[in-house]
């Protein structure tokens, strides 16, 4: 994998991305803006599950308001993320945080899709104030928010891999 990263880092595409000064900061900024949109959209749904906000609105309405932003934001993040990896493949592939982040994104997206699929029938969703969530659902909502917070942390930690993971950092052999 690292051999591939090292090879790719030398390809004209990667070199162009690295040496064009504005690409990496621009992609990172867009990535961060999308974190704001996706994380807050997830937070909104979770807070509605808790009954802390928009309790006057049917749960389905809240879900419909924010789901497209979550999906769209994640798609943009995948694209900007891919460009960032292409620009600095060795840095990303040699970070323990990077691989953990990728694995946890899979877990989080799968559980999000599972949550959506479990919300049937639609009639029940439209129940407005009447839709109360069980303690287990509320715990899951909190857990989901915490999971995304940890994913954000791992993203930030890529730049500090040795500091965070010490001997567990894949970056050791390059230091």
């Amino acid at each position: 994998m690292l051999e591939f990263a090292t090879w790719f880092q030398g390809t004209p595409v990667s070199v162009w991305l690295q040496s064009t000064l504005w690409i990496v900061p621009l992609m990172q900024s867009v990535h961060i803006v999308m974190i704001g949109i996706v994380f807050v959209s997830i937070l909104m749904v979770a807070l509605r599950v808790m009954g802390w906000i928009r309790a006057d609105e049917p749960f389905a309405a809240v879900l419909n308001r924010f789901t497209p932003w979550i999906a769209g934001g994640l798609a943009v993040m995948a694209a900007t993320g891919l460009i960032l990896v292409a620009a600095e493949p060795v840095r990303e592939f040699s970070a323990t945080s990077f691989w953990m982040k990728m694995a946890l994104i899979l877990v989080a997206v799968a559980s999000g899709l599972g949550f959506r699929a479990a919300l049937t029938p639609e009639k029940q969703l439209a129940g407005g104030d009447n839709l109360h969530f069980s303690g287990r659902s509320k715990a899951l909502a909190v857990g989901t928010v915490l999971l995304w917070l940890f994913i954000i942390f791992l993203g930030r930690a890529i730049a500090y891999d040795i500091e965070i993971w010490g001997p567990l950092s894949l970056n050791q052999r390059f230091s």
């Binding site: 900061p25 961060i32 937070l43 906000i53 928009r54 500090y160 965070i164």
Partner: protein
């Protein structure tokens, strides 16, 4: 006014030293800053979109903004605290960084925009709280807010890619260098 001595004093505090030297402290504070600022943007974005009548005008603006802004303010407080901590650690670097000052400027403008909205436009809220399109001034405030907070995020990221080098030689050191140069010349010519 030259603030550099103050900025250097901040950087020389024990706390700043601890921030620089603690290997996990810096990334953790950094992460909290990212979470805080993205939450500020994300929550205020919901309010701004409502001001732009997205997705529609059917929800009460007053209720929506009350529910959102407590999260915005909480996150903003966290952003300020963690931001001050990050500033202290590298005060001199930030002080010499243009992107940093532009970011601070954008935050001030966002605050002014919010205050103007709160104290002028918002007074007529009963006329447009729900089911009616927001007035032009409210839409303008929403658009402005989105633009400014996007600028804050972009400028914040830009700080990491721009270095404010301070090439100035402090006076006392320049004198020292001068004396030092003279001594060296004397020493060498003495042998010659």
């Amino acid at each position: 006014m030259d603030l550099l001595p103050i900025v250097e004093a901040i950087q020389n505090t024990g706390f700043a030293e601890w921030m620089r030297m603690s290997r996990k402290g810096l990334p953790i504070i950094n992460w909290m800053h990212v979470v805080a600022i993205t939450t500020v943007f994300g929550t205020i974005f919901v309010v701004d979109l409502r001001l732009l009548n997205y997705p529609n005008a059917s929800r009460s603006f007053t209720r929506l903004s009350e529910e959102m802004l407590r999260w915005t303010w909480g996150a903003f407080a966290l952003a300020v605290i963690t931001g001050l901590m990050l500033f202290a650690a590298n005060a001199v670097t930030y002080y010499n960084n243009t992107a940093f000052w532009l970011k601070m400027g954008a935050i001030v403008l966002a605050g002014i925009n919010m205050a103007v909205f709160q104290f002028l436009t918002f007074r007529s809220v009963t006329h447009w709280d729900r089911d009616r399109p927001t007035p032009v001034a409210a839409r303008a405030a929403g658009a402005m807010s989105i633009l400014l907070w996007l600028s804050v995020i972009f400028l914040g990221r830009w700080i990491g890619f721009t270095k404010g080098y301070n090439f100035e030689v402090p006076d006392e050191i320049e004198e020292d260098l001068f004396d030092f140069g003279m001594r060296l010349i004397e020493a060498v010519s003495g042998f010659g």
